[in-house]
Symmetry: C2
Subunit: 599 residues, 2 copies
């Protein structure tokens, strides 16, 4: 049925919405696709719903092609399975929680791993039932601290989440690859550029974890890639530890006065003014040939406060080369599920053995940091702080530092932690060369969950030998509404949206102009004939609206093909307008129909 604008529920707006920070949000609201209901929560108007449905259909087709079946879980789910997995607590403030009239706990599910696991446990019992891939396309909820950027970071959003079930690791690899391939086809059909990056595999400790990032300067995620093909998000980047250096013959540590040097830069300046130049090889390969002291020669000791799931607070000191910072996201991942923040004044007040601005692991009377030290505070070292590297660092005495402090001789950590910032030029861990940094937006995630949920919730099947084995799972997510927003973000100009054909709300936008009945008759005819070939047509038949307004609306709405029946209608001619290129061409109706129905 032809959709007529004289009657359709659409009002375009002249003004940008006041709260729109990004192009997609601005245009989707102005062109009548979505409408804000609450922070991060939107209503879908008919145009928006049509685009969303087209994206969902592409996903459904590709899921069907790999033999994944669609199910649908409720948004409102009981807390118990999430308690068993530990996520009820782990989510913290990030989810919506509620109680029913009987005071039972529920949540609005942000993802459904637990319930998928329990469903399969309910129904399946044998290896013969596997492999299985099932998915849903569902409205999900997260109580984001700062919902923003329209649909890009909302509190209600639509996701397709799929889960695979296998009883062998090799089976999981096959299921994983099938989903990964399907994702590539989905993004190709959507015309959406993507980079597959290694991702952190999180708490569940599965084997493979990859994100599909759309590279864009406005992306929230930073990722690194090498010319040689390595790609990972910063959380997953692994620093290559250099080889240890010989310790024999290195000079002994020397404490020196360093008044008024609470920062790395003041310390470096002081060292260059008052110390001998560094000896070759000092502080490891990166600075081996330095003739001046640099930040890379210093060991920065960052005090972090962890809040564990049980509520206990623990101070941890991280030792990293002074030319790097601790990266917030890498820290978050490294210490999850604990929450991390910088130590507070109160933390320092409770730990007077830490001399702020001059913290170091060593003193003449014994170690200061480390579980076995005087303080008992856990001390973790950057992978670059290998045995035999020599550092300038705090002497743990106000306005004093120490130099020639050698790792593996004068101090040691309780373990290694890879949380320092990643920089362009750092070597890719796979040896494929130096990395560069770029920004991207996550559009999909494929992830080998492994046996975490199956173990926790008791999903086992009998194998070929009649032995109970724990099932291994994969989790595969695509953000439907986020993809819609990114497509809007990518496909527009100063006049409005320009949809790819694959997701446009309509295939053709027919416009009748002028007061001539012939124009309307011809437009009616074209619209009906296009619909007869299966094209979906938006027909601007509004009788008292000027051509200028109609054209402006067509440009704003962004259907890729526009047909105008106007002045030349009596002669049977129309204008065919390519929204993307701006090209407008007069041709007769038959030629226009032939062009618009060519596949």
């Amino acid at each position: 049925m032809v959709t007529r604008l004289s009657h359709f529920f659409l009002r375009t707006l002249r003004e940008d919405p006041a709260d729109a920070e990004v192009t997609s949000h601005r245009l989707l609201v102005r062109a009548g696709y979505i409408r804000r209901q609450a922070p991060g929560i939107f209503a879908w108007l008919p145009l928006g719903l049509r685009v969303k449905a087209r994206i969902e259909n592409i996903i459904r087709e590709e899921m069907a092609a790999i033999g994944a079946y669609e199910v649908h879980f409720p948004a409102l789910v009981p807390a118990d399975p999430y308690r068993e997995s530990g996520r009820w607590e782990a989510y913290g403030d990030g989810i919506f929680r509620l109680k029913d009239r009987k005071d039972a706990d529920y949540l609005l599910a942000p993802t459904h791993e637990e319930l998928f696991t329990l469903l399969v446990k309910d129904l399946y019992s044998s290896y013969k039932d596997l492999p299985l891939s099932i998915y849903q396309i569902q409205d999900k909820y997260r109580d984001e601290a700062r919902p923003r950027a329209g649909l890009l970071r909302g509190r209600e959003f639509t996701m397709k989440d799929a889960y695979s079930f296998d009883y062998t690791d090799a089976g999981l690899d096959v299921s994983y690859q099938a989903q990964r391939d399907a994702y590539e086809r989905i993004f190709q059909r959507l015309g959406l550029e993507y980079v597959i990056v290694q991702a952190d595999n999180g708490l569940m400790g599965g084997a493979r974890s990859e994100e599909f990032l759309h590279p864009t300067s406005v992306g929230e995620d930073t990722f690194v890639r090498s010319e040689g093909g390595y790609a990972a998000n910063v959380e997953a980047f692994e620093t290559i530890a250099p080889a240890p250096l010989p310790i024999d013959g290195l000079p002994a540590p020397v404490i020196f006065d360093s008044p008024d040097t609470p920062t790395i830069q003041t310390l470096v300046d002081h060292a260059n003014a008052h110390l001998d130049a560094p000896a070759p090889g000092i502080a490891g390969p990166a600075t081996a040939d330095a003739t001046q002291w640099t930040a890379a020669h210093t060991l920065k000791n960052v005090v972090l406060a962890l809040t564990h799931l049980d509520g206990t607070r623990e101070l941890v000191v991280v030792g990293i080369p002074g030319d790097r910072d601790v990266d917030d996201k890498r820290v978050e991942v490294a210490f999850a599920p604990a929450e991390v923040e910088a130590a507070t004044d109160a933390d320092f007040a409770r730990n007077p053995q830490l001399v702020r601005g001059y913290i170091g692991p060593w003193s003449e009377t014994g170690p200061i940091l480390g579980e076995e030290s005087a303080s008992g505070i856990r001390y973790l070292l950057d992978p670059r702080v290998v045995d035999g590297t020599s550092w300038i660092t705090g002497a743990n005495i106000h306005e004093k530092h120490v130099h020639s402090l050698v790792a593996g001789r004068d101090f040691a950590g309780d373990g290694v932690v890879d949380v320092a910032s990643v920089r362009a030029g750092d070597p890719a861990p796979d040896g494929s060369g130096p990395v560069s940094l770029a920004r991207g937006m996550e559009i999909g995630h494929v992830f080998q969950l492994g046996r975490f949920f199956a173990e926790t919730l008791g999903l086992k099947v009998l194998d070929e030998n009649g032995k109970l084995v724990t099932v291994t799972m994969g989790s595969y997510g695509i953000g439907v509404t986020r993809i819609l927003a990114i497509l809007a973000e990518l496909n527009n100009d100063d006049k409005g949206l320009i949809w790819p054909e694959s997701v446009s709300p309509f295939d053709v936008h027919v416009v009748a102009t002028g007061k001539d009945a012939a124009a309307y008759a011809l437009a009616d005819d074209i619209a009906a004939r296009l619909e007869a070939t299966g094209r979906e047509v938006l027909y601007d038949d509004r009788p008292k609206v000027s051509p200028g307004v109609k054209f402006a609306d067509a440009e704003l709405v962004g259907v890729p093909h526009i047909v105008i029946a106007g002045r030349d209608a009596a002669a049977g001619d129309v204008e065919v307008w390519n929204r993307a290129t701006g090209e407008r061409q007069v041709m007769d109706v038959e030629a226009a129909l032939a062009r618009l129905t060519a596949r």
Copy 2:
């Protein structure tokens, strides 16, 4: 793509689920359509999701045919618009409420009148924009006190809710009729018997309100209908008030001893034993010719306690003929939005002027009941208690009653309330004859909201004269998941489900049996050829499953057409099995395909 049972996500169950009270629930779980997640909350498995999608598509097609456009609101919505309409309070415990991390109030919306109103207010400003009909198909939430009967009364359920917007009453009538007609087509296409009954028009006070009830003995709703075509649910039934009777010449009230007569029956027995027989005309037309005292001669005074929205508690006494009871649903509607319960012992203790078991409106020293009386308690009368009717009722003295108490002379009410139970034989209010009672299940509701929400939320448009007028609205709901359950409830036998073609999860269920490769090859071929004609095929290709199990599964799942390729496959013959009639017929493949693809 042919769906193969060897791989499809389906496990039928041999056992009925322990909590299944109704057939639909039992069969939908056993046949693998749904799975319980929490009380009244279900997951949809692939079969169930397919049936649901087919029902939704029928609704979408009929909505498109009347020019209604689809939108989609979030389930999680802010409280403020519901506060403005008063529903935030009025819903009481019946909705799920929650707070976000900023302590703002939200609810899981049971319906979206407020947000639809605000959306149109946002975008529309002129009579030229109207009429408009928009709808959504959406998962809704109600925190039912007793979720039960599977999908029939759940806490999460899918509804299509439509709203119309007009600026004249005549326009609303047209929009209303279009939706009503669409509903009739939808139910006809679903093969679902329905009765359209007048319904209560609730708090909003709109003009027309009709429910589509599916008549079924397991229905929760009672409705009445006359041979002459009247139909209404009991809440909406209007009692015809008889004409007043002359008061002149009626005997004066007489108090009499009535020891141990706290109930109507003991009172009637006492009256027949101790009083003169009733005079003709006593207590109005219904009992005009009685020669014995009956319950209909008595006036029963029922004490109700209302809790108003502001939390205040008010006692109200309702006077009804003693042969009827107060109907809970009619009371609920009559006093809404107040909540009603029977007066408690504490209420009576606080109101000692009410002599329990012997309550009446009159005493020798003046009125006992009524706002102007000694008690000040509001007194409402049944429509049958017209002036000139004469009653036996309590004398408000322990073990004493009064007879010959005449309405309009000895007592009067503060108003009329029509809350007595409706009985078979009561006259239809439209004069179409006596009514009978039946039970039904609500499957749809069309309702003229009128200007309640538009007035409350400020939805006005400029009319032809440039004057601001308040928009008038209609509300039109269909319970998608409830319809699915009713269809399952109606279409089954002792073997399983039997879907109507219009909503069956698949069009044809192809079964290959035996160990003969020819059977599987033929079944493959049939499945592929059926899919090529647009039929959706479920193909039971499981290699090591017995024919008996396959047939039992086919019967349980309930696809209406089954094709079996087995013994005769080598000869090119198959068996075509009509699930509903049980008829099985051997024919060659071409004949089978011709039959199965005939429209």
